[in-house]
């Protein structure tokens, strides 16, 4: 853990990403305790108030302005981050678990199991992921649970392909052969011996997938297929605010900036993790 932390501290980009990710997570968790205006209750007297920075800490302040229904945008962004992070984290965990498991099984058993799985991956890759997600969400309805499942569905194949490749190489190594020789069961070999050895690539893919899923989730709710109103979601805020683009630029600007910063920080962290764990790059430094 110690070399990991000191390497993180030495990398400016990685540290920046890490700190920003932590800030977003903290903001999402602490949102109800920050004394913000309600993200849902509308107020007709304060519709489309421009951002003001005077009296920032007074109760009625709207540092990022209000939307067409008089709701505080800062509050909606923070509450929206709860939905986004919940859905994205759920999808990453589900997609990662399924993809990793299938990758290990395919790589370990090879043969017909492997061929069927890889064919399924190829078929799914022929369908642009956004179209797949759009179609399935439209069919099954846009609940939080469904969104997690659909986004995981667009994600599992990335793990499956890479982990399968890793396991194909690992299964010929001595420690797996000897585990086999002393009579360890297939399940035990997969969970106790193969899984720990593929956790590093899994972690790296998961971070980069998190960024992709956040954008895809926002795109779905931009098209009206995300979590349903009145729950705030970043994509929905963009879609609704777009109508008022000529009169109130802030409604559509800030939620987009929130997506950008979140994705940027997750990407920076992911890139750094990949470089850190890639032995080829590490010796080059």
């Amino acid at each position: 853990m110690k070399p990991f932390l000191s390497a993180l501290l030495r990398s400016r980009a990685g540290l920046f990403g890490f700190v920003l990710v932590m800030l977003f997570v903290a903001g999402a968790i602490l949102a109800p305790y920050l004394g913000l205006a309600s993200p849902i209750r509308s107020s007709l007297t304060s519709r489309m108030v421009a951002p003001t920075w005077t009296g920032l800490f007074s109760p009625g302040a709207h540092p990022l302005g209000t939307d067409e229904l008089g709701r505080d945008i800062l509050s909606r962004i923070l509450y929206g981050s709860r939905t986004t992070l919940l859905i994205a984290a759920g999808a990453v965990i589900l997609g990662g678990a399924v993809g990793t498991l299938l990758g290990i099984v395919a790589g370990y058993y090879r043969g017909i199991v492997d061929r069927i799985l890889m064919r399924v991956v190829d078929i799914q890759l022929a369908l642009p992921l956004m179209l797949l997600a759009l179609l399935v969400v439209a069919a099954v309805g846009a609940s939080t649970q469904n969104l997690v499942i659909v986004l995981a569905l667009t994600s599992w194949l990335r793990y499956a392909r890479i982990i399968r490749g890793q396991v194909l190489a690992l299964r010929e190594r001595e420690f797996i052969l000897s585990a086999h020789a002393i009579g360890a069961g297939t399940w035990r070999i997969m969970i106790k011996h193969l899984l720990p050895n593929v956790m590093t690539p899994v972690l790296v893919i998961a971070t980069l997938e998190l960024a992709r899923i956040i954008i895809m989730d926002a795109a779905l709710s931009f098209l009206g297929l995300g979590v349903q109103p009145p729950s705030p979601s970043w994509g929905r805020m963009l879609a609704d605010g777009r109508v008022y683009i000529t009169t109130a630029w802030w409604i559509v600007t800030f939620p987009g900036l929130a997506i950008l910063l979140t994705v940027l920080s997750v990407n920076l962290l992911g890139d750094w993790l990949r470089d850190y764990f890639d032995p080829k790059l590490r010796t080059a430094r």
């Binding site: 064919r119 399924v120 190829d122 078929i123 799914q124 890759l125 022929a126 369908l127 642009p128 992921l129 956004m130 179209l131 797949l132 759009l134 179609l135 399935v136 439209a138 069919a139 099954v140 960024a211 954008i215 926002a218 795109a219 931009f222 098209l223 963009l238 777009r242 683009i245 000529t246 630029w249 559509v252 600007t253 939620p255 987009g256 997506i259 950008l260 910063l261 994705v263 940027l264 990407n267 920076l268 080059a284």
Partner: protein
């Protein structure tokens, strides 16, 4: 080479068949279009009549095989909304989507490749830093938001360009620019790291050591090999552009396939959804087939393997 091509073609057909199957069954969960199509206040009898006329009353599997067979003949059924062949509805929107995506792919790749090469060759300079920061930002920006911001700047504030729609070349600028940013950011980052990897290879040192001109080394030994991952990436990006068309065409009111698919989903217009998604998947599979072949040209090792 013939055998390689044949295998690839068969794989492509299997993939498209898989897509058709997925889309058929998923779109059937969407709901009953007959209920939406009858006039308000119509009785159950009228709904049943319409279902029978559209063939929606037959068993699902029968409908599936029936639609597979007709699709092979190029018949995707009649669009419920437009009351004419769904394939025609989709095909007449294809040029708009293809030209926009093609334009973005072309300009994005050129800009991205130039930026990536500059970043790799001028390692450690301000130029590299600027390119990398721009690329990171470009990759993290959701295209639909960037599109809205460009509309805000160029159409609303400056009044220079149309906010949406299609017609003149001016309409291409904002959506094209939006998509190019996304494309060039990915290409620049990938080409830079791939160039840096290859410049460390032994054969590059050998080429330099035997006194070849730097330009020769760069174009014949480094660039040619560094382009292989970029070609793969172009295939992936083509898929993202085609899938992303549903979003960007909504932002710019662009009359393309993506928008017609979104409208089809909202109206539960099965034939249009089916035709649109199948067409997009077919284009994507075809692009990836080209990428595979280009691969073989760039890297003879792949052909033999």
């Amino acid at each position: 080479m013939t055998r390689y091509l044949l295998t690839k073609l068969i794989e492509a057909f299997i993939a498209i068949w898989g897509v058709v199957t997925i889309v058929f069954f998923v779109s059937r969960i969407l709901g009953d279009p007959a209920v939406l199509l009858v006039p308000v206040g119509a009785g159950q009898q009228e709904i049943d009549n319409l279902r029978a006329a559209l063939g929606l009353d037959r068993p699902l599997l029968e409908q599936y095989f029936h639609s597979l067979l007709s699709m092979l003949k190029g018949d995707f059924g009649i669009s419920f909304q437009h009351t004419r062949p769904a394939l025609d509805v989709v095909l007449e929107r294809t040029p708009a989507t293809a030209s926009l995506a093609g334009l973005a792919l072309l300009f994005g790749t050129l800009i991205g490749a130039a930026a990536g090469a500059i970043a790799a060759l001028m390692r450690g300079t301000v130029a590299e830093f600027i390119v990398m920061v721009a690329a990171l930002l470009g990759q993290a920006t959701p295209t639909f938001w960037l599109g809205i911001m460009l509309i805000l700047l160029f159409s609303v504030e400056l009044g220079l360009l149309p906010t949406g729609g299609a017609g003149t070349w001016l309409h291409y600028i904002l959506p094209g620019l939006t998509l190019s940013v996304f494309v060039s950011a990915s290409i620049a980052r990938l080409l830079r790291s791939s160039l840096l990897d290859i410049m460390r290879e032994d054969y590059v040192r050998t080429a330099r050591a035997k006194g070849l001109m730097p330009r020769t080394v760069f174009f014949w030994h480094i660039a040619r090999n560094a382009l292989i991952p970029v070609v793969t990436m172009i295939g992936i990006i083509a898929g993202e552009l085609l899938g992303g068309s549903v979003v960007i065409e909504t932002v710019f009111a662009w009359p393309g396939v993506g928008r017609v698919i979104v409208q089809g989903i909202q109206a539960q217009d099965f034939p249009v959804i089916q035709a649109g998604v199948t067409l997009v998947a077919a284009i994507f599979v075809f692009v990836n087939l080209l990428v595979d072949l280009l691969y073989g040209v760039l890297d003879p090792r792949i052909r033999r393997g």
